[in-house]
């Protein structure tokens, strides 16, 4: 392994100022020399990596572009099968992309979930802009989420009613993640406050909840939601499967977010609490006006990271048979004509997840740098 970049910069000698650097030290060549070919070990590492990288890129391009088949006439996949794995069969995406994106939603109404996806993206973009970090943001969320509910269900304003079990694809992933966050966040704040409360019974309840949920895998909560929730409810009352999974995800997210929020509460200097007390503020005034605004500001980057985690974790609903993006992708290749093109579908679905997660992760990194700027000198 090569050296760490932690060496001190060499002390500049005074006469170096007047002379221009030799050609091998500046420009592309100099950069390459310094960063790729300094010493025999570094050179060897660079060459080996470059060789592997190029080989991989060429191989992937051959499979994915050169030898690939982009479309086939009505379900005749023989051409794809004749490739015997030397090329990708993107025809499966061409044929099934609407199913992967929208699941079993009525075909003529696909514009509705498509619009919902755009609304979700718009909601994320607006929430990411600091000039919207005002009370109106809460209103925007409430309005947009209601609008999405209306669009998906329909039954009003001339939209035909679409029952929940027909929803599917990308929009389910976005619903599970976004509604999960929207409900889990207030819950998480309460639990985090409760965990730092001086009241022993409330503190014990919150600790129990957080540790119980964080100690078990999400799968077990989803199993619970799918096979145990129906037993919890009185006879004749039942809530549908998506909502049950949504509740499991909210409970799960609540516990993890609570720990993130608690981190912010703990990081706040004690003086802030004491100063608020000195002003004679009540507990809720102190919390609402002094503590939370400062504590939450500190934890925005980890909050975004936790959200990325939930976004990915919603894919686990595959195991209880809910048609999210991943399940829809896998169901698309059950049809006999299209069996065996899993890799193509996984790559496509993976690319969709990646676009969302990558954007959020870049945003979180930028935000972290920005929020920390005042600390740097």
């Amino acid at each position: 392994m090569s050296d760490l970049t932690l060496n001190t910069p060499a002390a500049a000698s005074p006469e170096a100022v007047s002379r221009s650097a030799p050609l091998s030290q500046v420009g592309l060549l100099g950069w390459a020399r310094a960063n790729l070919f300094s010493g025999w070990l570094n050179t060897a590492v660079t060459l080996v990596l470059a060789y592997l990288l190029i080989r991989w890129i060429v191989g992937f391009a051959e499979w994915g572009i050169v030898n690939a088949i982009w479309s086939v006439p009505d379900n005749q996949t023989q051409a794809c099968r004749d490739l015997k794995g030397t090329g990708a069969c993107w025809a499966v995406i061409a044929e099934k992309h609407r199913f992967i994106l929208f699941g079993t939603y009525p075909f003529e109404e696909h514009w509705r979930p498509a619009l919902c996806v755009l609304l979700f993206i718009g909601l994320y973009v607006v929430s990411a802009m600091r000039r919207f970090w005002r009370p109106v943001l809460g209103l925007i969320w409430a309005v947009v989420l209601t609008l999405i509910g209306v669009l998906m269900w329909g039954g009003v304003a001339g939209l035909s009613y679409v029952p929940q079990e027909r929803w599917g694809g990308l929009v389910i992933t976005l619903i599970l993640a976004t509604f999960g966050l929207a409900f889990a966040f207030p819950l998480a704040i309460l639990v985090a406050l409760g965990r730092r409360s001086k009241l022993p019974a409330i503190k014990a309840l919150c600790v129990l909840y957080v540790e119980l949920i964080r100690g078990v895998p999400l799968i077990s909560l989803l199993f619970m939601a799918s096979v145990m929730f129906p037993l919890f409810l009185p006879e004749g009352m039942n809530i549908d499967k998506l909502l049950r999974a949504q509740i499991a995800i909210i409970l799960f997210a609540g516990a993890y977010l609570a720990e993130v929020v608690r981190g912010g509460l703990q990081a706040l200097p004690k003086g802030q609490y004491e100063a608020a007390d000195a002003l004679g503020l009540s507990y809720w005034q102190k919390t609402g006006f002094i503590i939370l605004p400062q504590a939450l500001r500190m934890v925005i980057p980890p909050l975004v990271n936790t959200f990325i985690g939930f976004f990915k974790d919603t894919s686990l609903v595959l195991i209880i048979g809910i048609f999210d993006l991943l399940t829809a992708g896998k169901t698309a290749i059950i049809e006999p004509a299209w069996q065996g093109f899993g890799i193509e579908v996984y790559i496509t679905v993976g690319a969709i997840y990646f676009v969302f997660c990558f954007a959020m992760s870049k945003y979180s990194q930028n935000l972290e740098a920005e929020l920390n700027r005042h600390r740097r000198r």
Partner: protein, 348 residues
Amino acid sequence: MQPFGPSLTRALSIAALGIGLALPLAAKAQAPAGAANTLDAVRARGSLICGVNTGLAGFAQPDSQGVWRGFDADYCRAVAAAIFGDPNKVRFVPTTAQVRFTALQSGEVDMLARNTTWTLSRDTSLGLDFTATNFYDGQGFMVKASAGVKSAKELEGATICVQPGTTTEQNLTDWARANRIRFTPVVIERLEELLSAYVSGRCDAYTTDVSGLAATRSAQQRPADHLILPDIISKEPLALGVRQGDARFADITRWVHFLLLSAEEFGITQANVDQMANDPRPEVQRILGKNGGLGEMLGLQNGWAVNVLKAVGNYGELFQRHLVPLGIQRGPNALWTQGGLQFSPPFR
């Protein structure tokens, strides 16, 4: 402006309020479908909720447009047509093997048309009643022809792909013990994952109901490369299921099945159902509701049979449409008049 301040808290509380208002909308509980009277609940709701497989070629599987297609899916449509006269008043709920019984018990679905084997313990202890066997099946094995295996008895030491938590898994264990055969299982719940394990050669043999084997085989590039072994190791009557203790709804699902059989027996098809109304045979007259008032006895309209047959056709047509293309033969599912097991009591 300070990016964070009291304003953020206010934003949060407004969000919480809005979300709180949205909650009742989301938590809209479905019309209760108590054990006592499913038919009334279905009528009140305006649609039948039918539990189907999450995806099994030929039986229930969404197509590229997201419409559920298949033998079982059409049974759901037939029951909806019998109740409402409209085969589209049905909602399909995909259920995994694990949650299918819970879903029925809790009222999440009204009926199961989901390749469920009728067994004594399920019939008595899981809170459901099986009404009619819409498909007679049996468990078998499929192997690659190149393996040179001619009988299941030669599978000593083989790796066998099987779906867990089903009767299939237990049958396999019983059979292996009885025949002193050691095998390595590969157990995966998602069917497509399991199939790809067999096709890729991860397993030497794949065991499931013969219909499933035939469907898988016909989907292969060269079906002749795969061999379904002659040994049948179990009886698998795949039946429709309803909640226990609802005799009326059980009757409806049962007689929809018998209607499909009788229609085939008397040559009533989707295309000729209107002409057949003039058929002089008394039983045809009774089936199609010309006289006898049989529909009312079931709590339906007398034209129910015409609606069902117009919507999906008779049993033979269903079979022809969904299963024959997969290479599944009628076999035991032929009518009793043709040496099969499918038998309808008289419409009288």
